[in-house]
Assembly symmetry: C2
Homo-oligomer: 160 residues x 2
């Protein structure tokens, strides 16, 4: 019984931390200036070839969505992966490919908007000869936005 | 008691319709080609001056977020408004202003990313002499993404 106050205190502390982390306490508009968000590092295990991932916006308050600009050098692509709430790709430059498991790859070009449904195994990337950039937007479910899988083999990549 | 089967049937029908409308039944990647999404019409009551709003992506399945490209001619701006889950603006061209109620307006330029917290009364638009375009992304709450309010007066607009 002597432990009860300590346990209650711990529960209160965790609850306060959780509520603070999950509510939009901000009341002021904020601007992240151009060039202030540096490319992410340590993502090599999830891609084949050189890829630059630049954060664009983060989930804040009740919002679940986050966005990143992804630039694939020619021949580069993601591993196979799925998203628990799906994903939107807005192609901004170059020419690339997107493919889902068991289907032919499709060409994507600037201005195209790609909808990847929830839990559909897929990859996206540059073509073998051109670079490609897209804004990628995805919402989290239980704190998770992606499940990474195996690399896309050369044979899978060049399959038309 | 004779009505019970009919009521049960109605409940089942509505439940089925609701589940279908709110689950991501799609299992195939879809591409909206560049140029296939026409500008929205009928939005004049919510803006001052010529503004073009082009849909980019829609909320699908469990996702709550939708995005639109908005282009403001010089002098054009939104009405005052709020978003129930906040909003992200990614400025893509030109030079504009954003302001929240009671504060000075701030300059926004290409590459800047603006976070507007939930329920913060604000407006955004072009400067008085330049056009401005941004991608606007917002998530819905109880089916609602925005609460529109009164127009931004000339005095509020030019206030620095």
């Amino acid at each position: 019984m002597k432990m009860t106050p300590y346990i209650l205190t711990l529960v209160c502390l965790f609850t306060t931390a959780y509520v603070q982390a999950n509510s939009d306490n901000e009341k002021t508009i904020s601007i992240q200036p151009n060039g202030s968000q540096l490319p992410m590092t340590g993502l090599e295990p999830y891609f084949t070839g050189p890829v630059r991932v630049e954060p664009v916006f983060q989930a804040k308050g009740e919002a679940k969505g986050a966005g990143a600009m992804v630039t694939f050098e020619p021949g580069s692509r993601t591993n196979w992966h799925t998203h628990p709430v799906g994903q939107t790709l807005i192609v901004t430059s170059g020419k690339g490919w997107v493919a889902q498991w068991g289907a032919q790859s499709q060409v994507i070009e600037p201005g195209d908007v790609v909808h990847i449904p929830a839990n559909v195994k897929h990859w996206h990337g540059a073509t073998d000869k051109t670079a490609m950039s897209h804004l990628a937007i995805q919402e989290s479910k239980n704190g998770k936005v992606v499940t990474w899988m195996e690399a896309v083999t050369e044979q899978q990549y060049i399959k038309k």
